[in-house]
């Protein structure tokens, strides 16, 4: 039992590596205003399943990476609730990258699905 568990964990981790970035970019592309980490996590929570249902703390490092790659813009605003919140907004480069990622994702998903079904 435990060795299939380890395999599943490893597979999930590898699968999540790219898809989490894709989903975060998509959420921010759909948002009308800049969002902060907690809001993004809540939006994902409603839809999340599979590898995306992982711990929400995993989203924050990915957000940082996307913004250091200049796919996201970020700024900090003070909040009444506690520490200042870091808001993220998608950049034009991020939108362009997202379109390419979605194409790659669709192509991959179609072929993976058809191979699995056959």
């Amino acid at each position: 039992m435990s060795d299939t568990d380890a395999h599943l964990k490893k597979f999930e981790k590898e699968l999540a590596a790219g898809t989490v970035s894709l989903v975060l970019l998509a959420v921010l592309a759909a948002a009308r205003e800049p969002l902060y980490g907690y809001q993004i996590a809540k939006r994902l929570e409603q839809e999340a399943g599979g590898v995306l249902a992982g711990k929400q703390s995993a989203l924050y490092p990915v957000l940082r990476n996307l913004s250091s790659a200049e796919l996201l813009d970020t700024h900090v605003e003070p909040s009444v609730a506690g520490p200042p919140r870091r808001y993220y907004r998608i950049t034009p480069l991020g939108r362009k990258v997202l379109r390419e990622w979605i194409e790659a994702w669709n192509a991959t998903r179609r072929s993976v699905d058809s191979i699995i079904k056959s």
């Binding site: 902060y36 907690y38 996590a41 711990k55 929400q56 703390s57 995993a58 490092p61 990476n65 200042p84």
Partner: protein, 298 residues
């Protein structure tokens, strides 16, 4: 296993403990993210108490240990993907490393230090010899003791100055403040301490040594620069203007034409070798300076 934290501060403490030993910048990021998330969650659910909320957190945001694990894994991926490989790893090839010296600012700085060391060496040596001679001459007179004190003080200031030069040009970390003994000691004891401090004596020795060392460094540097340059220029002079390689009395010596490319290549390589020599001597001298001007005090 930790108990479930009941306050945000406790949660952050557990997270900090779980991340112990990791890169401080990463710890700061992780704590910042966690606090932002938890406080937002708290603001979003005002009906829940902090303790109830934190009990739920481990299934959504993650327990401190899980979060630490996620950040550690992420950090490994990020370092591998984002940071360029350190320069040292690029040049494992000995040939690349041989030529890479031309891009090392320390090599050129060391060259200038070696040139300068002739001048500073003469100055230090003269200063110390004059000082010692005058101290001996004055020893029996009234000004003997004050002069000796002044002289020792001047040597310590000079060694501080030399330390600044060494740090600036050779890149060896040297002290930035003079090594004064305890400020609380009375003046008399401080003066005695100056004479019993082995560093004063080793500094004197260093200043004396700087004359022969300066001469040797200077000659080595000039030779290792002039010989490669001569090797590179000689074929050109002989080829175009028929100037001999050497002239002894009335006899002119010429190198055969087939040696021209060899001479040129040897000269070219010699220039790089000179930079290596300068950097190597610079490192060695940095160690000597550190040993005599700083270390002995400890």
């Amino acid at each position: 296993m930790h108990t479930t934290p009941s306050t945000i501060a406790e949660y952050l403490d557990q997270l900090r403990a779980a991340l112990a030993g990791a890169d401080p910048a990463m710890i700061q990021d992780a704590l910042y993210d966690a606090e932002e998330h938890l406080r937002s969650e708290l603001a979003d659910n005002p009906q829940l108490s902090e303790a109830d909320l934190l009990a739920k957190i481990s299934s959504s945001y993650g327990a401190p240990e899980e979060v630490a694990e996620i950040y550690r894994n992420q950090e490994v991926t990020v370092t591998r993907a984002l940071r360029p490989a350190p320069r040292r790893e690029l040049s494992n090839n000995p040939i690349v490393r041989f030529f890479a010296v031309a891009g090392d600012p320390h090599a050129y700085a060391a060259m200038f230090y070696l040139l300068l060391s002739l001048a500073t060496g003469i100055f230090y040596f003269t200063w110390v010899v004059t000082g010692v001679a005058l101290s001996m001459a004055f020893a029996l007179s009234l000004v003997g003791i004050p002069f000796l004190i002044l002289f020792f003080g001047s040597v310590r200031m000079l060694s501080l100055l030399e330390g600044r030069i060494v740090e600036g040009m050779l890149g060896v970390r040297m002290p930035r403040r003079p090594p004064y003994p305890d400020r609380d000691l009375p003046l008399g004891k401080r003066i005695v301490a100056m004479f019993t401090d082995p560093r004063s004596w080793s500094s004197l020795f260093y200043m004396l040594m700087m004359l022969p060392l300066g001469v040797i460094y200077f000659v080595l540097l000039i030779l290792s620069t002039v010989i490669p340059v001569a090797l590179m220029v000689a074929p050109i002079l002989q080829g175009f203007w028929h100037l001999p390689v050497a002239e002894i009395g009335d006899i002119n010596f010429y190198a055969p034409a087939w040696t021209y490319p060899i001479e040129f290549v040897l000269g070219f390589l010699g220039l790089f070798l000179m930079l290596h020599v300068a950097r190597g001597i610079g490192r060695m001298h940095g160690a000597i300076a550190k040993g005599l001007l700083v270390k002995i005090a400890a």
